[in-house]
Symmetry: C2
Subunit: 595 residues, 2 copies
């Protein structure tokens, strides 16, 4: 039996558009002799629909679209479509008003619904906000083959693999007891570095343990901060990867279930990326491309400082949208170095993008004049530094407003973590492209990009010159250039130290004591933790940032602002270690949160 995997890129809420995509792929699948088509979780509305799900009109329209789709589909093809389904017993039994469901469409009608059983409610996931868990094991029979149906998280609770349970049940264990021949998993699993490989390892464990061939069909595409990588695959009963779809691309592929062997046949296994940098690059290109496109833009604008962050973002934007759709603006001040201009222009030439130079010195004087009386007797400081950044932000937004270009924000994760960025200044933008990319990864991505000299990076659409990111951008000391001679390391430790501390703190949930025990100066660790805490008010007002790690600042990071938990102080207290003296912070913070 031929089973088609539709690795779809839906637009959130675009019910007619998504239905049309499913229909076209179904027609192709039927033409190739497929009997069953798999689409991703919530494929009709796109994942995550978020609070569109509390809109009764939206739910009504989804049902209408589903019924219409059932009538339009090729009748001989069974199609599994993800939808939000009303829980008709919610008000009598108690419970959430919806199920996260898979509809089985066949022969012109909606034949059955299967309910997702394990509902992730952590990190970026809010499924308990909307959905009631399904209570029954889900399967159906097609051509005498019993097919188990699971939805994303349903297969993320193998207690042998994880060494613990996250939910009380493991749906595939129940399906195995029921004797299904094959389990399919319809997913909307967001990208993080290395996740595709992790999924395969995890499901391989379940395939072997429960003697189940598994077909894993994942959504692809960028939806606000989340990038879905696709990377759908199939495992045979021995847990071997017999089929793998490409990452970050819409695709339709057909997997064959051999009835005699009761197993999946070997097919085309797309090679994995050769490096994390390559994988992240493609993730960011898709994330930028989809956010731009799905918001209705075709062109972007960004500030080019000659630094590595804006250089990388410009390269990503060029790859995503084409050189003719990227506009780089140079905004030099009297504090800017000569190389800030020459490096930015060299980058723009490498990329083939249009630029404009708008010096901000006159405007800086204008602000100085306007504030002269009020600021009389004060020293040049953070206020004046931030004014420069906000002049740039204003000019870039004016260009965005005037020409309908989406403004891209270019701050990296290290900056966003410690607040080394100006709210309403360089943080401005509709999308923060590298907000989840630590500075050290920014460097490695640029080195990777430059190393691709012999590969046909055709989407960069420029004459290839052996390097994209100019050498000087890679080698000079990072600087905000907001006062004479300033470099980032005046205020911050070296980025390899900073990024490792941040990784331990943010991604690995380590305490100050644990981080210090790894060999870092406890005073420095405390200072970094303080900086992260006091930058919360900035992050709250940041644009969506593309998520590439397991813990990003965004929908999955929900911290109070007006709080007085100073992690370091309390964790030291609980261990009877004296509280260290606070080091004064020289960051571009907008207001001093913790005194």
């Amino acid at each position: 039996m031929k089973i088609a995997i539709a690795q779809l890129n839906p637009t959130i809420g675009d019910l007619p558009g998504n239905a049309q995509k499913i229909l076209l792929l179904a027609q192709q699948a039927a033409a190739q002799g497929a009997r069953l088509l798999l689409t991703p979780e919530l494929s009709l509305c796109g994942y995550p629909p978020r609070d569109l799900l509390v809109n009764p009109g939206f739910l009504e329209a989804m049902d209408v679209a589903l019924q219409q789709l059932a009538r339009d589909l090729p009748p001989q093809l069974a199609v599994l479509v993800g939808i939000a389904e009303e829980n008709s017993k919610a008000h009598s039994n108690g419970g959430k008003t919806l199920f996260n469901s898979i509809a089985l469409l066949r022969q012109g009608s909606v034949q059955r619904f299967f309910h997702k059983r394990l509902l992730p409610t952590y990190d970026v996931f809010d499924e308990n906000r909307y959905f009631e868990p399904g209570l029954q094991a889900n399967y159906f029979t097609l051509d005498n083959i019993n097919i188990g149906v699971t939805v994303c998280e349903d297969l993320w609770n193998d207690e042998e693999f994880w060494g613990r349970r996250t939910y009380a049940i493991n749906p595939i264990a129940e399906l195995a007891v029921l004797g299904v021949d094959l389990t399919v998993n319809l997913s909307a699993s967001p990208y993080r570095v290395g996740k595709a490989g992790f999924r395969e390892a995890m499901l391989t464990h379940s395939a072997v343990r429960f003697q189940q061939p598994i077909i894993y069909a994942n959504q692809v595409g960028g939806n606000d901060d989340l990038i879905f990588d696709g990377s759908s695959f199939a495992l045979n009963r021995q847990g071997e990867v017999v089929f793998r779809l490409p990452a970050f691309k819409t695709d339709l592929q057909i997997v064959e279930f051999d009835e005699a062997q009761q197993d999946l046949r070997h097919g085309f296994v797309t090679p994995r990326y050769k490096s994390e940098d390559e994988e992240i690059w493609h993730a960011l290109v898709l994330g930028l491309q989809d956010y731009t496109r799905k918001c209705g833009f075709s062109k972007v604008v960004l500030g080019l400082s000659g630094g590595i962050d804006s250089s990388l973002v410009a390269a990503i934007a060029t790859a995503a949208l084409g050189k003719e759709n990227v506009f780089g603006v140079l905004l030099p001040s009297p504090h800017s170095s000569d190389h800030s201009i020459t490096d930015a222009l060299a980058l723009a030439e490498n990329l083939g993008i249009k630029t404009q130079i708008l010096p901000i010195g006159e405007l800086m004087r204008g602000y100085d004049d306007t504030l002269a009386e009020l600021f009389a007797g004060t020293e040049f400081g953070l206020a004046e530094e931030n004014i420069q950044s906000r002049i740039r932000g204003n000019l870039l937004m004016a260009i965005s407003n005037k020409f309908g270009h989406l403004l891209l924000s270019t701050g990296n994760k290290s900056e966003m973590a410690v607040g080394y960025c100006t709210l309403y200044g360089d943080m401005n933008g509709g999308l923060a492209v590298i907000a989840d990319v630590p500075k050290t990864r920014v460097y490695s991505l640029c080195h990777w990009l430059n190393s691709q000299g012999n590969l046909p990076l055709t989407y960069l659409q420029n004459r290839w010159k052996g390097e994209i990111i100019p050498q000087n951008v890679l080698t000079k000391a990072p600087s905000a250039e907001l006062k004479p001679g300033q470099v980032d390391q005046d205020s911050l430790p070296s980025y390899d130290i900073l990024d490792d501390i941040l990784l331990r703190l943010i991604n690995n949930y380590q305490s100050a004591a644990q981080i210090a025990a790894a060999g870092y100066d406890p005073v420095l660790v405390d200072r970094i933790i303080q900086m992260v805490a006091r930058a919360e008010f900035k992050r709250r007002q940041a644009p969506p940032g593309l998520k590439i790690t397991d813990r990003a600042f965004g929908n999955g990071w929900r911290m109070p602002i007006a709080s007085n938990w100073v992690a370091v102080k309390n964790s030291y207290q609980s261990k009877n270690i004296p509280t260290p003296t606070l080091v004064s912070l020289d960051v571009h913070n907008a207001h001093p949160k913790i005194q």
Copy 2:
């Protein structure tokens, strides 16, 4: 038996500080002969602690603080303290790693834990993200009185009162079956207009139905966007309010349980507010005061336009912080009317606050010059309007940075809904004071404030002149004054119409067809719905806004940005009504999201 209610105002995450507050009130309660002290839900860490709960160091410190508090408390007093408690069976049984618990502290130790059973996961609540529900009815015996223990949402599922169930069980029904003498409810229930009265009506139903005296102890204070009103109360077995604490104030009161009557005795019932305006005013004053204080500020700055929004915010700030801590900045442009200055100065004089005038005309010319070449041949439009607003935003942030004043944003809910505001301009600030106050309510609050002429509004700390908000501010046509002769109603319907449409759309979840059926022009309704949808990217970057309605833009509003759900279009389609032509939108949007 005397039972004390501690209506506490904790600071999120401030474990030592909150423990100290509990200790002081416990000592007072013990001195007054109380046998039991009730504190709010999660009183040790404050509610909502949000993702501090995924920090192992924080949980460890909370346990340390709890044990220390148990040792420090008066031994003869039983104290119920709210904490996050580790679920030791989570990894073996599956489930969330924490319980939302009440600890019973007595005789120097932590004697028992009670687990919250119903976990709200909707609107601003994320409890399923962290907590596992408790499975057992909670009660304990003190002086031979059996006391049922419930936590906030546990009493929000009376299916008779609601006409439906939200959860499968109703904890007070189980407690009644067990024969408890009294039920206490420890809450952290955020404020919305009229909620205190609603809570009393709801619990009166349960008290009568289950023949239970109920003591309801609620948190007070502002925590980011949420304001907790306190308004704790007690009901006797007949459902009468026998005790009511004030709203928006920290308090300690003692309720008496009469063992002979098996009921609560009558005590002091604080009168309710006389109007919604009075209630909202006090909510906003507390919300502003606590956000400012808990973030470590004492002074605030805001732009005074002479309009009603900034006038109201200035009055709230003056009431909250004192006139010496509020700095009003007038930022006139060549498009500003004369009355923008005179009205703002009259307001400032009424309030007694300091002002500064910073004209922005020179800076506007500076931007025009800088952008002249790039913008050559284009018309004055939204880009130029927004530049003005962003110059003001930059100047206000410079003052904030220079002097350590918290910048207050003054936009109202109507503007935030339709995007009639400039991102990085007038939206700038650490707190959006009236972001959940519709424009029509802004007017009624100002009229209420002016009507208080004979009351001792002592916290305004100024010489009373018979009015706070100048008459001209109340009567002139609202205008952004970003181009000559502009008034809001060039772009928007009258605010009474706009606000009613928004109320139906946002708070009442009505579809376009339902709103039109209430008598509104369908084209206008569609246009408003479009404006709300396309302003999502602005709201995502807005500061926290104080929540006063049942649906605010903030933590409880989780909408996708890059989405294509156009509610009006789809809902019309599903009813086979032709899709109306889109009206061009003349709002100050930063980029055109929907084309």
